[in-house]
Amino acid sequence: MYAQAFFVAVFGLAAIGFGVVVFRTSSMMRSALALLFSMTAVGCLFLAMQTEFLGVLQIMMMATEMSIMAIFMVMFMMDPGGLGGMDMSHQKRFSIGAGVSAAVVAIAVALLSDWGPAAEQVVDAQAQTRALGMELLGRSMMIFETAGITILTAMIAATAVSIPVKKLASKDGKEASE
């Protein structure tokens, strides 16, 4: 119980810390990789909450996803190395206000609600994975399939959008198929 609380707190802090770094560094690589480590910390948070499959999945998926994010950052930012020290933000006050109020409202809800009794134990990882599989391919199959089809559609759409309009010679839409 206390160990769990400790790990949840540690990984939660790590996720928040790296999340802050994302918007505070001027190097785009650092920004993208800070987001990656924030996501990894979230994955570890899942692990700390005994949700092993989702945690490992999150850790795995984000590594590739954020690496792709990194190359796009380098492509699309004017100053990827952050050497110029330029400011890439606008409407700061409004954004801070919105961010803080969103967080405050959510925290207030979290603190003020009566969550009722919390479950003490969950089944082990193996049984969880099994049950999740049964859920996915049983009751929730339609939703899962829909998600799959949506991904396929998005992949095709993204590829179609990103290849050059004039000459369709460039066949590799691989940057968009992830």
Partner: protein
């Protein structure tokens, strides 16, 4: 146990708040996407916490997290597709320069 639940929820809320700040304050499309990713991550933390501490017997909770992960991947795919197309056409993915998107 409720204490851990609240801890996780607060974490999720702060992540969401950082995401909101990022999505609103950044001028570059890719950075905005990062903000959105952080918001989704905050949501996921909450979902997992709810599943773990409130309804560990209902696996649709976990399934929902999977769907959110799918949405993250989708957002990346479509976002970068749009970014490439826009960059190709306009030479910029800066929001300050996307005045043509204004109504």
């Amino acid at each position: 146990m409720t204490m851990i639940l609240i801890l996780a929820l607060v974490t999720g809320a702060i992540l969401f708040g950082i995401g909101v700040y990022g999505a609103l304050s950044q001028t570059n499309l890719v950075m905005i996407m990062m903000g959105v990713e952080l918001m989704l991550a905050g949501a996921m933390v909450n979902l997992v916490a709810f599943w773990r501490f409130l309804h560990p017997e209902a696996y649709s909770g976990q399934m929902f997290v999977l769907v959110v992960m799918t949405v993250m991947a989708l957002e990346m795919a479509v976002g970068f597709g749009v970014a490439i197309a826009r960059f190709r056409a306009k030479g910029s993915v800066e929001m300050e320069e996307a005045e043509d998107l204004k109504g």
